[in-house]
């Protein structure tokens, strides 16, 4: 099909009876976010394997493309998936920038797109599209959920330290919104660059500020460095460290040694969540990969299930994107993270948020769920 043909004539997608359903998966498989991407992919594959790679009698094929967490590359790859591979459905993107970058393309070409990680608020707010649904989280959910709790249980003043990029800013703004609404006071804010290597200067500043606690948003290697240096520079014994779940998530906690112990964080899933769905998930994951699942693996697992259930609901006929997104909107089940369903207004997931605390268990730092905030919805604007 030449470009002229495919753009002038509307090529009808025939409901291919018994043919494969192609799902385009756009994830960063190289670069800084590679391990997130890989975990998402592992989670998806785990689920699809569980259902024998078949939905409503049709085979499922994942076409995975490396977005390199670069919006340009992401768009190029999305076009490949859509135009070249003719996928029925798109899922993935760790980076919000990539999700934003392909938003118009997906919207224009009417490809159902289930966002399985990227948390930028606008995706289900100002950039909302009929074809875009998000099963992961929004920055707002992460930050906002800890505000009230922190005021009630931690202290009346906090200092905010967050990585300087859109996500870090959005999460800390949401926290601040909730925290100040509860009556707390933010005494200072600092935004070290993403990938900063030495926090000593910031930490000295924070140490000398009068705050009961520090709300931090860092992830990956930044989280390791920040939490370690937080302890080394003697802040841990003076100010409680609170933040998003990524500060002490599965992929960094071990590397932090015991520096993270005592940290309070809010998140939508934790390894130690004590439900039978979670137990089953962890067991299945461990059996297949011989490792603990991370939160991204859980996101991939859920995304796969949502896709499968939606496809099941349309009887395996993915030819009409509107029907597919409608089916997605109706999916609800109890996931390893608790009960989930979609907000039909915002296209964003409604889920529980958990307050977790890191503690030392047999010399290892482990998280414990200390509070559940049920059915958190994104306000959608």
């Amino acid at each position: 099909n030449s470009a002229i043909q495919s753009t002038t004539k509307k090529v009808e997608k025939a409901p291919k009876e018994g043919g494969v359903i192609k799902i385009g998966v756009l994830l960063p498989l190289s670069g800084v976010y590679a391990s997130l991407g890989k975990n998402l992919q592992m989670g998806m594959e785990l689920y699809f394997e569980g259902i024998g790679w078949k939905v409503a009698g049709r085979d499922i094929q994942l076409i995975v493309e490396d977005s390199e967490a670069d919006p340009q590359v992401g768009l190029r790859k999305a076009r490949k998936l859509i135009d070249q591979d003719q996928v029925d459905l798109l899922t993935g993107t760790v980076s919000t920038a990539v999700a934003y970058a392909i938003r118009d393309e997906v919207d224009k070409k009417k490809i159902p797109f289930l966002v399985s990680h990227a948390g930028g608020n606008d995706l289900t707010r100002s950039k909302r599209s009929d074809y875009i649904w998000r099963s992961s989280f929004s920055s707002w959910q992460i930050g906002y959920s800890l505000g009230q709790w922190a005021y009630d249980h931690v202290g009346k003043t906090v200092y905010i330290a967050a990585a300087d990029y859109a996500f870090g800013r959005e999460v800390s703004a949401a926290f601040k919104e909730a925290y100040t609404a509860a009556g707390g006071k933010v005494v200072g804010e600092v935004y070290p660059p993403l990938g900063n290597n030495d926090y000593s200067s910031y930490l000295t500043t924070i140490k000398n500020a009068k705050a009961d606690a520090v709300y931090a948003f860092f992830a990956g290697s930044d989280a390791v460095k920040f939490v370690q240096q937080y302890e080394q520079f003697g802040l841990k014994k003076e100010k409680k460290l609170i933040g998003s779940g990524w500060l002490v998530s599965e992929d960094v906690r071990k590397q932090q040694g015991n520096a993270g112990v005592g940290t309070i964080a809010s998140i939508f899933w934790d390894y130690h969540l004590d439900t039978k769905e979670n137990k089953a998930f962890i067991e299945a994951f461990a059996k297949k990969y011989n490792a603990r699942p991370t939160i991204e693996a859980m996101e991939g697992y859920d995304a796969a299930r949502i896709i499968a259930e939606a496809l099941e609901a349309v009887g395996g006929d993915a030819s009409d994107p509107d029907k597919v997104v409608k089916a997605i909107s109706n999916v609800q089940f109890v996931s390893p993270r608790g009960p989930i369903q979609f907000d039909k207004e915002t296209h964003h997931i409604i889920q529980n948020m958990y307050i977790i605390e890191t503690e030392e268990v047999n010399g290892q730092a482990e998280n414990k769920v200390i509070e559940v905030i049920e059915k958190v919805k994104d306000p959608g604007q």
Binding site: A3, P71, K80
Partner: protein, 328 residues
């Protein structure tokens, strides 16, 4: 000469026929190649002709991209308007940055350009309200020309092709002009050029501005083409990959950077669809190039066709041409 004309005509025809030959995906890839080729050509003015190796050329690409994005969003989606305005803004930025950069040489020039581009990156990355921060600006209005909507990929492709051809012609005329010869002279021996009476700093400055302005055009095309712009456009990795395009293709030639851009884009897209270890393969290719084809793709082609071809010697060719024209 005739052979050359023939090849050029064939190439243009082939490019013009592309929408009828290739699928949409490849057409889009081709459009992207053309845009990056303009970008590489603009850098080549500095690296290949003037001998100034810049590792901050993405600054102008990014400025063009953001300028066009913001203008189309806030002001007017008129293609010509955004394009010219971006060119102008990039040129002004180059005029300011160049003021400092052309005073230093060699590695210091490389690092100074890097520093400026990284500062622009920092700005873009941080000023969330204006530029969307790390998420970039997306959902840009599709470009229009007069009342003609250019959002259709085939239209857009032709527009890009047109800009590419114009830029290619403008630049090749420039590098073969006396002005271009002066740049080459500066690359070879700046001190001697001064002794001959050339204000080399001014020429370098001019080259810097031209390169910046055209870099801005390519950036503007890119954001128009993609419908979004992100800080990656300004990041040093962008400067790095365009430098590699120039080097792999063959610095100091016109067709080299174009081939380099095509080679890198195709390689990256194709290889990374098959393996996540694509950096390994691309890195390996770079190494093989240096070891076996140090002159770049163009040099390789030349070596195949006429083994003892000298490097660029502008007078001999020009002389033959002039003699011929004078005879007519």
């Amino acid at each position: 000469m005739n052979k050359r004309m023939f090849i050029s005509a064939a190439a243009i025809l082939l490019l013009a026929a592309a929408p009828f030959l290739f699928s949409l995906f490849y057409l889009n890839l081709l459009a992207e190649i053309l845009i990056l080729a303009i970008f590489a050509l603009s850098l080549n003015v500095l690296v290949g002709y003037t001998g100034l190796v810049s590792l901050g050329h993405a600054a102008f690409f990014g400025i063009g991209a953001y300028a066009s994005a913001l203008l189309s969003k806030e002001w007017s989606p008129q293609f010509l308007v955004t394009m010219l305005a971006s060119l102008l803004i990039a040129a002004i930025a180059a005029a300011i940055i160049g003021l400092f950069c052309v005073r230093v040489n060699g590695f210091y020039f490389l690092m100074l350009t890097l520093a400026f581009s990284q500062m622009i990156y920092s700005f873009v990355h941080q000023s969330t309200t204006l530029t969307g921060g790390s998420n970039g600006l997306s959902g840009l209005p599709s470009p229009v020309f007069g009342t003609l909507d250019l959002s259709h990929p085939v239209f857009l492709y032709y527009v890009i092709l047109l800009v590419f051809i114009v830029m290619y012609i403008v630049l090749s005329l420039m590098v073969k002009s006396p002005f271009g010869h002066v740049l080459i002279g500066i690359r070879e021996n700046e001190m001697r050029m001064k002794a001959i009476g050339y204000n080399t700093t001014l020429y370098k400055y001019a080259a810097f501005i031209i390169a910046g302005a055209i870099g801005g055009v390519s950036g503007a095309l890119y954001s128009t083409f993609n419908g979004f712009v992100s800080p990656n456009d300004v990041y040093w990795t962008m400067s790095g990959s365009v430098l590699i395009m120039v080097l792999i293709g063959g610095a100091g030639t016109m067709i080299g950077p174009v081939l380099g851009a095509a080679f890198i884009v195709v390689l990256e897209t194709i290889v990374s669809s098959y393996t996540t270890m694509w950096t390994l393969i691309i890195g390996g290719v770079f190494i093989l190039f240096v070891v076996f084809i140090p002159q770049g793709i163009v040099g390789f082609g030349r070596a195949l066709t006429k083994p003892s071809a000298n490097r660029l010697s502008f007078s001999r060719k020009a002389k033959a041409l002039v003699k011929k024209e004078a005879n007519q």
